[in-house]
């Protein structure tokens, strides 16, 4: 099941109706049943993966808590659970067969077990509730990675029907579909062509920009759909983006883009590593010998490890490793250089320049995703300096397509600006009923007519073209 399939929408709509018809204490069971059905429908026999993670999480969580209560050590259970699930995740990533949502639910499961080990979360007694926490269907598809403390309670609490919340949720879904279907899927073929036929600096630069557009539309749009649907269920998931393209530095970008993954990595990789005994000891030793730089050594080690993990989480190939390391490098450089620019903070031109610069740098790094062989990527980077700049392959986009894309970008930027200045657009429109209705209708029409979806969409030579 993909987010843009009409069946997904129909399924979600049906579930929503049932959800608000059953008594509050049973609502979570509706979600569980829906999620399990959806997962079976998509994965069939491969439910074994999710089942494995679910069983280990369930058993280890309980065992760890029992051990804690008796004052025994529970490290063995924790290690077994982490080891097995990480091995499963890495194994699947390595063999490129990815059961739906494995990247997301594995992180959630690990976070939960670690929290139980630390004593900050209670172990779940009800297997159903834990299963729902892992396989809650909207977020299996594109995330976000929720923390147990954020998701467990809202998932299982009763939610009375709240018209405004449901309406807000549906509005957000529509907006997500716009970004995904009208923008991201429209550029997707062009990105593919540019990746395949690299024709020098000009096309590489265009690729970087278009890929940024595609991934922004696809990812933030997908998350809007997921969060919107959850909001309609009365479940508030943590935000995953905060206008990331308005960031002034790479570090800031990563605090505003895919925030839930960043938070997970900070919580379970960065902090534990940086305060762990060996690293601390190393830091002390380094400080004695190297002074100020040595003081930052723990941070450096933790950052590198975090980015290594982040890179590998995206994919077990060289290019993702490179991508992770590039991000890491840029963050550390930014950190080192930050004091130099402290005086310029708050100046308008500086803010503008740093936002633009960050955006360009992030575009160029992100392209790394597309080239499994890093040499191709470096060749592209080099061609940015050497050219040629004029040769751009035919992207199969008509002038109408470019117009739609440009307009879409203006609308998305406008919405982001309004959000960062005045907050929720939906809240602003809530009181103006007529205006809201027609804006939403226009948005619906845009998605319906301009969206790139459906059968034969890419078939440029499709029989209907003859009519």
């Amino acid at each position: 099941m993909i987010l843009q399939s009409p069946w997904f929408i129909l399924f979600a709509a049906g579930l929503l109706v049932v959800y608000y018809l059953v008594p509050g204490k049973h609502q979570w069971k509706v979600l569980l049943a829906g999620s399990v059905c959806a997962y079976f429908q998509v994965e069939g026999a491969r439910v074994g993966f999710l089942l494995t993670t679910f069983l280990t999480t369930l058993v280890c969580g309980r065992k760890i808590e029992q051990a804690r209560e008796r004052g025994e050590r529970a490290g063995g259970w924790l290690a077994a659970c982490l080891g097995l699930n990480l091995a499963l995740l890495l194994g699947c990533k390595g063999s490129l067969l990815l059961p739906l949502g494995i990247s997301y639910y594995t992180l959630q499961a690990l976070g939960y077990v670690i929290d139980v080990y630390r004593g900050t979360e209670k172990a779940e007694k009800d297997p159903g509730k834990l299963a729902l926490f892992l396989c809650y269907f909207p977020q299996l598809i594109q995330g976000p990675v929720s923390r147990a403390s954020q998701l467990r309670a809202p998932l299982t609490e009763p939610h009375a029907y709240d018209g405004k919340q449901v309406s807000f949720g549906l509005q957000r879904m529509l907006w997500g579909y716009f970004k995904k279907l009208v923008i991201a899927d429209r550029v997707a073929p062009a990105v593919e062509i540019l990746t395949r036929d690299q024709a020098g600096g000009g096309s590489f630069a265009l690729l970087a920009v278009l890929y940024a557009l595609r991934i922004y539309g696809d990812f933030t749009g997908g998350i809007d759909i997921v969060l919107g649907l959850s909001q309609a269920f009365g479940i508030g998931l943590p935000e995953n983006f905060r206008q990331p393209f308005f960031s002034g530095s790479v570090a800031e970008y990563w605090r505003r883009w895919h925030m839930s993954l960043g938070a997970w990595m900070r919580e379970y990789v960065f902090f534990p590593v940086s305060v762990s005994k060996p690293v601390r000891r190393l830091g002390k030793a380094a400080r004695r010998r190297l002074g100020a730089f040595g003081k930052r050594l723990p941070v450096y080690i933790a950052t590198i490890l975090t980015w290594l993990a982040t890179g590998l989480w995206h994919g077990l190939t060289l290019n993702f490793l490179l991508w992770g390391m590039l991000n890491c490098l840029l963050i550390l450089i930014g950190e080192e250089l930050a004091p130099l620019f402290r005086g310029l903070k708050g100046k308008r031109w500086y803010t503008g320049c740093s936002i633009l610069g960050t955006w360009l740098i992030m575009d160029l790094i992100r392209v790394c995703d597309l080239f499994p062989d890093p040499r191709d990527y470096f060749r592209g980077l080099k061609s940015l300096l050497t050219g040629p700049w004029g040769q751009i392959p035919d992207l199969g986009l008509s002038s109408l397509d470019w117009g739609i894309l440009a307009l879409g970008c203006v609308v998305m930027t406008g919405v982001s600006l309004v959000q960062s200045r005045w907050g929720s657009v939906r809240e602003l429109l809530w009181k103006r009923e007529t205006l809201r209705f027609w804006i939403l209708f226009a948005l619906l029409l845009a998605v319906l007519l301009l969206g790139c979806y459906g059968v034969g969409y890419e078939a440029s030579n499709f029989i209907y073209n003859q009519f």
């Binding site: 399939s5 069946w7 109408l400 209708f441 007519l449 969206g451 459906g454 029989i463 009519f467």
Partner: protein, 349 residues
């Protein structure tokens, strides 16, 4: 109240948009209108033809009327598969009970959706056949039986309920014809017969791929069984026919199986290929595409020959004595002749 009005407006706009975006089949693929034209002609037909292009291009119902007084209609559509034929028959029998149903057996060679050709073409043919059907259980069944894998993935039957989901991106190809035929389509056929007046003589026979599958598939037989049953239940005689044509090949192995099938079930099976000479088909004048399909002169010859079988072997009465039926068919005949004149004139210029 205000809310309700706005909502109503929105639904009307969406409906109009959908009507606008759906293809009107006015160009060189007029076949898209064949299925929907039946409903204005339902009732009073003694013979219903069911099948693919080998029925809607190879038999002329007007000739059947003119020579034998047999009122008939062709429910044909391009690359109609057996499962589509079955559901179309089921639907037709709900509108009327003819005396004879003639099914062209060529489509039996397609056993599964995948075997009918590549996905995008299959999907286009599905649309041409299914979009024209009125809503009923038969349409739903036909859709479910016909969906390609890609269609299933993209919402399947839902895109037939709301065709806008399928044609949403046709806005860039809209022409004035889409507005002109927004509500009422042009009639393209004469009782389901799609007239072709061109002549392209057959020269060399087409090279034919080898026969790799000698037995017709189980799925095909299953649907044919269902058609047989349906006709039995309604007291309708089912006649199997292989219409004239040189290509694609109708292998003797297949012919034998159909003949055996027909004998076991006491059905009439007419293979018109060996009778081509008797029918009088001249492949240098009677085909518009070098031997694949007949043009109007060929279709009239085929109908004339086949009408005798319908009269003699199926005992169909001559309705020309009924003034009411006569009046209706005279009108149809006039339209047919007018169309023929116009098309021949266009062809000459």
């Amino acid at each position: 109240m205000k809310k309700l009005r706005a909502f109503f407006c929105a639904v009307v706009i969406l409906g109009l948009l959908q009507a606008l975006l759906v293809p009107k089949y006015t160009g060189n693929v007029r076949e898209g209108n064949l299925i929907r034209e039946y409903y204005d002609n339902a009732g009073g037909n003694d013979v219903i033809f069911i099948g693919d292009c080998e029925v809607y291009e190879n038999f002329s119902p007007i000739t059947l009327w003119q020579e034998y007084g047999i009122p008939s209609y062709i429910r044909g559509s391009p690359q109609q598969t057996v499962w589509q034929s079955y559901y179309l028959l089921e639907e037709t029998l709900r509108y009327e009970t003819p005396k004879v149903v003639v099914f062209n057996v060529f489509a039996l060679k397609y056993d599964t959706v995948e075997s009918t050709g590549d996905q995008s073409r299959r999907e286009a043919y599905n649309r041409i056949t299914l979009d024209g059907m009125r809503w009923s259980g038969s349409k739903w069944g036909a859709i479910q039986a016909s969906l390609t894998q890609e269609e299933r993935q993209w919402g399947g039957a839902l895109t037939y309920v709301f065709p806008i989901l399928r044609y949403h991106d046709r806005w860039s190809e809209l022409t004035w014809k889409d507005v002109r035929y927004l509500f009422k389509r042009e009639t393209v056929s004469d009782c389901g017969y799609l007239m072709q007046t061109g002549v392209e003589p057959m020269t060399d026979p087409f090279p034919s791929p080898p026969l790799t599958k000698r037995t017709l598939g189980d799925n095909s037989w299953r649907y044919l069984d269902k058609m047989v049953q349906l006709c039995r239940d309604k007291g309708v005689q089912l006649v199997l026919v292989k219409s004239p044509g040189l290509y694609p090949a109708w292998w003797p192995e297949w012919d034998q199986q159909v003949a055996d099938y027909a004998r076991e079930r006491e059905l009439l099976y007419i293979n018109m290929i060996p009778a081509q000479e008797e029918i009088g088909i001249d492949w240098s004048t009677d085909t518009y595409d070098a031997g694949l399909h007949l043009n109007v002169s060929g279709a009239e010859k085929a109908a004339s020959w086949f009408g005798r079988i319908l009269r003699d072997q199926c005992g169909l009465p001559d309705r020309r004595s009924d003034p009411q039926v006569c009046a209706r068919w005279e009108e149809k005949t006039a339209r047919y002749e007018a169309r023929k004149g116009l098309l021949l004139e266009q062809g000459d210029s």
